[in-house]
Symmetry: C2
Subunit: 375 residues, 2 copies
């Protein structure tokens, strides 16, 4: 009789940097979650003041079966703290504890913790092994998978970072039980994203199961996470360093990053900005001829059903369009000052494209006014 919790596994294929995403219950406690990881002398958990009280003690117990020393670093909570100062708290702790190159770092938390802990692992002594333990839906379906790590710069989100793959990702479904509703919705934005860019059958499934997802049905969440990770794994496996294809995973993110930066990091959750940004990107895709108005309306409705905003915020009362354009020009996908958008070429297919400024301006105007008609 198998008493181990039921568990799925998705593989990210990257040659000697390949790894598994485990999806299941009670993974934080399960010693099998650590099978095959290197056994260094010490493990360091990086978490934040909100998540650590919930799960750190259980993780410490599990890690003590493998590591002689286990340390915990608690960062302040929130996107506003995703900067060098917080990163340096991790380096200070690693050096004060005399952590060596074999130390394994565990990122326990949402996307902000994962991005910072991953970047710290990438840089400490030029790279130490690390494991992602995402505790938010957003991190489980997106940010913990694929090796993107970063901190923010006052002039742009995620501008300083590294591509650095974890040894493993542990998506413990039980951690979603304590997630605030607002963060659950934010995570659903990144789930919805995978439909328009890659898999409209998944999009149909999300529409049919939105109520179950918001009610935190373990079966629905497990399927959503698994399918999201499979799509992300396929994309990242083809283009680890975002020289082309991988950029489609940024659907809605160009507008979204402008909203986040323009409102001040933390005012809108990343997923909220992406939800609204996807509606804007769908409108732009329609203007460019990739999708029709019914597609825009269907996506808008699903974003709304997920509990996410669909009306874009006014970032500047005097020159709102100018402010959006200015913020989008420092996007990492921009080239020679030209903003490049992830555009839906047809339902389930995306590509990178530029668009005329006046077309983008009209999308911004309509989106900030909350109008749903076509551009």
């Amino acid at each position: 009789m198998d008493e181990r919790p039921h568990k799925h596994s998705v593989r990210i294929d990257l040659g000697d940097r390949s790894y598994e995403i485990f999806i299941g219950h009670r993974l934080i406690d399960d010693p099998a979650s650590l099978d095959g990881l290197p056994a260094g002398a010490s493990a360091v958990i990086v978490s934040n003041v909100t998540v650590a009280p919930l799960y750190a003690a259980r993780l410490i117990s599990a890690l003590q079966t493998r590591f002689r020393q286990v340390h915990l670093v608690e960062l302040p909570d929130g996107e506003a703290h995703k900067h060098w100062g917080s990163l340096n708290l991790i380096f200070d702790a690693l050096l004060e504890k005399a952590c060596d190159r074999k130390t394994v770092l565990f990122a326990l938390g949402g996307g902000v913790v994962g991005d910072m802990a991953g970047f710290a692992a990438a840089c400490y002594m030029r790279g130490i092994p690390f494991v992602q333990i995402p505790t938010t839906l957003l991190a489980q379906v997106d940010s913990s998978v694929g090796g993107k790590t970063a901190i923010n710069h006052p002039l742009g989100k995620n501008m300083i970072g590294a591509f650095y793959q974890p040894l493993r990702v542990l998506c413990d479904l039980d951690t979603l039980g304590s997630l605030p509703d607002r963060e659950l919705s934010a995570g659903l934005a990144e789930v919805i994203k995978y439909g328009p860019i890659a898999d409209m059958a998944f999009f149909d499934w999300i529409e049919a199961h939105m109520a179950a997802l918001r009610a935190r049905s373990p079966e629905a969440l497990s399927h959503a996470i698994r399918r999201s990770c499979e799509i992300k794994a396929a994309v990242v496996g083809q283009d680890e360093r975002e020289s082309g294809l991988r950029a489609i995973l940024n659907f809605g993110h160009t507008f979204g990053h402008a909203i986040e930066a323009g409102m001040g990091y933390g005012a809108w959750l990343h997923g909220e900005a992406v939800g609204c940004g996807m509606v804007m990107a769908a409108r732009l895709s329609r203007a460019l001829g990739g999708v029709d108005q019914s597609f825009v309306e269907r996506l808008t409705e699903l974003v709304r059903a997920a509990g996410l905003p669909t009306v874009a915020p006014v970032l500047d009362g005097h020159d709102n369009v100018g402010r959006y354009l200015q913020l989008m020009r420092v996007d990492k996908k921009a080239e020679a000052g030209a903003i490049r958008f992830v555009v839906i070429e047809g339902p389930g297919r995306a590509s990178m494209q530029s668009a005329p400024d006046d077309m983008v301006a009209e999308v911004i105007r309509i989106s900030c006014a909350g109008e749903t008609q076509c551009v």
Copy 2:
């Protein structure tokens, strides 16, 4: 009739990260130095307040033939500034100029500039292309080659960094003409290093040509740089990320880093600390049985002939040995608290080894007292 300056080339073989080191005269001005580099919209030169006035104008002219925009970032000069604050000056400039992922960064300066500019290139938007233009002997024979980049942390040298390879290295011999004597000597430490660890015939050659090297004979310097780069290329080609072999390039560096950190970064030049550190490491190698006293004396004499210190500084009047050991325990090569040294197993062959604390202590005591007898 070929009017192009005479030029040597050494290849670093790292698969799709392979690149060439050019060694020759007037490379900064030579348009051929840029052949085959990607043609982004903008180039950014990172230099310092000492080097930029000497060479930046010429480099800017050359770059303007290929890039629409060329910007210059001048950092403060010296190891004491190799920290996050200076790194952030580079990020600020890149973002203020709206530099995109295709921007090519040029590191124009010594090891400190190269390490910081390289790390900035590794992190900006998770990686942009960069070119090393080392202007000191130390950087030409060692730090600009092989992709190690880093900044210092108050608790340890080069603790925060990345393995990130340049697109090319341009060793312009003419830049050595303006190098202060003290920095020339510091560079010779890293040249001497290659003998004991890999090539005693080269060691013989250095002994025979030390006067020519210190007199800055272009032929002697060109040969020393070329042979040093060849040895480094062979080692890095086998072990890019220092999982084993590459660590032998750190001969003298474990003691040397302790001297640098203990004296305060910048008080001793890196090469000076390495020169003295090699004498200490040779004494340890003798104590472990790899070499005899005549080898220690021969190396000591060559370090002295290069104009480098051979007597170690006292770092702490109350517990000097304890202070050395404490500083060496945070070395990146340490594992589980055990210091690991690059030890000469026999002239021309090195490996990583631990040593009993009392043996290391005796080496420190004798080295600080300036005694030359055996341990």
